[in-house]
């Protein structure tokens, strides 16, 4: 901090003239330099240097600005829960995001090297860089909607989950009469035992019309089957009422319901699914007593979406969106570095029998190290200051959980709290965090000059 401000304050120096030992003709050229630098000096002094001094000074005063409070604001910064969350979250950002962005950029750059259509791919990946982080936030807020019917991320997860673990046909159904007992988790079982040749009636109710599968037709009572057990699962309800436990005209069969045939011990011996009219049949049943039950799968609730914008996942969710934006930057910078690597070197290694992984690991990556460092450091600076995308993705109710230092500074100073003392302290803290990175940059720069 001190270093930056002294450097910057020095900007004013040449405006006032040159050292006394200069020759007469030089005065003119110094005045010329002052004229060229003047406008920039004014802007930088008023909008950058003066604020650095003022904010630092202000951070030692209370909210009103009248009372000197020493380091009290800084104590608050490290004891207030919301602010500690912000610091912790920013640490997570620094720990994960620069590494991910650099790694993904490296993979993309290597993947697209000397491949046709790579320009199209690079354009697509780089495109998010042109739009605002704020707009990117709106884009991802649409993606992250919790309802799998509306949020694309959850819709994608729902497709995978439904393939692995399909949802039940009827998640809200319950028995229509007391002949069926049990819970949705264990399946609903007929209280009376059945044997071969019996017909079981499994009536369900509490099913909204919209949940009845489209292919359902009127329920029918199947005929008894010699040596088998038949039955029907139906929606024991029709407009106007009807009699419970009786299959009546206009009541629909429930297709694709899992029906289990259970033995004495309650274990499922066989399983079948109902037809569009609700009927099912177990053929070739050994003589004996059985129970018929509707399997618990039938009642499994459908996937209702991961709560990406909830308090637990909000920070990783925002990080994913941020990586989506910045991967293109890393890719382009690294690709430029990659194209500067001498081809001969790689070819020589291949001729010597190195495989592609060895070439990548032992030659490409070490030669790219300076470029990778630039990308990584740049990302650290940006990630420390992350603001727009957090405030746009995180709904107001979870902004405390998603908090980062830059957001905390703004919310404290302008977002309703309006404590300029504490806000200044947070700003100074943020500035102190970027100074080590700044020092690295300056050292690198001086080496180049």
């Amino acid at each position: 901090m001190a270093q930056a401000s002294t450097d910057a304050v020095a900007t004013a120096e040449p405006l006032r003239g040159a050292p006394p030992e200069s020759q007469g003709g030089r005065w003119g050229s110094y005045a010329m330099a002052a004229a060229f630098l003047g406008p920039a000096a004014v802007f930088l002094l008023v909008w950058v240097v003066y604020p650095i001094v003022h904010t630092t000074y202000r951070s030692f005063f209370d909210r009103s600005g009248n009372e000197f409070v020493g380091l009290e604001n800084y104590q608050t910064l490290f004891s207030d829960d919301t602010l500690l969350t912000a610091i912790k979250n920013n640490a997570l950002w620094v720990a994960f995001v620069p590494a991910f962005v650099t790694a993904i950029g490296l993979v993309f750059a290597v993947l697209t090297e000397r491949v046709r259509f790579s320009v199209a791919f690079k354009t697509v990946v780089f495109m998010p860089m042109a739009i605002s982080l704020f707009a990117a936030g709106v884009i991802w807020r649409v993606m992250y909607e919790k309802d799998p019917d509306r949020g694309a991320v959850n819709a994608g997860i729902a497709i995978v989950k439904d393939a692995v673990d399909p949802p039940g046909v009827l998640s809200t159904a319950r028995p229509s009469t007391e002949v069926l007992t049990g819970t949705p988790q264990g399946g609903l079982e007929l209280t009376t035992p059945v044997g071969s040749g019996d017909v079981s009636l499994l009536g369900l109710t509490g099913i909204p019309a919209s949940d009845v599968p489209d292919d359902a037709v009127d329920a029918v009572v199947p005929e008894a089957l010699a040596g088998g057990i038949t039955g029907v699962v139906w929606r024991d309800f029709r407009p106007g009422g009807g009699e419970a436990g009786v299959v009546e005209e206009g009541e629909l069969g429930l297709p694709r319901v899992v029906v289990e045939l259970r033995g004495e011990a309650g274990a499922a011996l066989a399983e079948t699914r109902t037809e569009p009219d609700g009927t099912f049949a177990f053929e070739d049943v050994e003589p004996g007593e059985y129970r018929v039950a509707i399997g618990p799968e039938t009642f499994a609730s459908p996937f209702d979406g991961v709560s990406w914008l909830g308090p637990k996942l909000i920070t990783p969710a925002i990080m994913i969106a941020y990586i989506w934006v910045w991967a293109g930057f890393a890719m382009v910078v690294i690709a430029a570095g990659l194209s500067a690597i001498p081809r001969d070197l790689l070819e020589a290694a291949r001729t010597d029998g190195a495989n592609e992984w060895q070439v990548f690991r032992r030659i490409t990556v070490p030669l790219l190290a300076p470029v990778l460092t630039v990308v990584f450091i740049t990302m650290i600076i940006y990630v420390l200051k992350v603001f727009d995308i957090v405030i746009s993705i995180a709904p107001g109710s979870v902004q405390d959980n998603a908090n980062v230092i830059a957001l905390a500074m703004w919310r404290t100073s302008f977002g309703g709290v309006n404590d300029f003392g504490l806000g200044s302290a947070i700003a100074v803290f943020l500035f102190l965090l970027v100074i080590p990175v700044l020092a690295v940059n300056i050292r690198r720069f001086r080496r180049e000059v």
């Binding site: 909008w47 904010t55 694309a152 291949r350 420390l384």
Partner: protein, 296 residues
Amino acid sequence: MATATAEAAGPVVIPESRTAKIVAIVGKTPVYVTIAVLGLLWLVPTFGLLLTSLIIPARVQSAGWWEALTEPSLLTIENYRQVLENEAITSAIWTTLWISIGATILPIIVAALAGYAFAWLEFPGRDWLFLGVVAMLVVPIQMALIPIFSLYNDLGIFDTILGLVLFHTAFGLPFAIFLLRSFFIGIPKDLIEAARIDGASEIRIFARVILPLGLPAVASLAIFQFLWVWNDLLVALTFGRETQPITVAIFSQLRQFGANIELIAPAAFLSLAIPLVVFFAFQRYFVQGLLAGSVK
């Protein structure tokens, strides 16, 4: 990918032959498939916002945007008509445009002058001063918000386009000076010496030699600065109330996110359409600028 390239490059003796080409293409199929999948994945979010912005108001609350792919009757431009009739949004777009144009031209002029001085004029402490400018590259905007907020209130330019332009100019300068100086310094010394011997004044050299030669750098910078200002939220949110650029206008709608998605989605898409047009039109300069000064 690794094995594919190895096979393609290794055993094939004559790379020009047709077989070799086929082998190379077939061998790279996994790479093409990966690239295609990743490319689609990267495109989905933006495309999703576009479709969301086009879904009929009656269904936008219930339908996922992908349903429009199979049910084109869900699509309409009605939402955009509504947004363009919305006074708050249209005036915000104009405000954004004026701020962006002002805050692009002004810093370029100021930075070109300073960049020339740092590159080609002799004066004491030049390198130290320039180092100071480089140091300012990373100063967080947060450091300036509170003092400038008070200053603008005192000066009476709070909540004005002028105030926003001046702020963006100042914070755009370090990068602009850095970029232009490194470009100017690459201009052949002979050219400038020759002009000096011919008796040209520094201003004349600057206007007739440096600026025309530095045009590509100026173009890169202009695109960067324009996009940076257009995309800003933090500065506008702090120094604007009635003077709202588009990001702030949409931001003030976010509170009811979901209920007003038929307004937010098209407005957000409009706000990013202009940067996208600029980006696609001047992609080359954009990438050059990025590579020239990848630290801001």
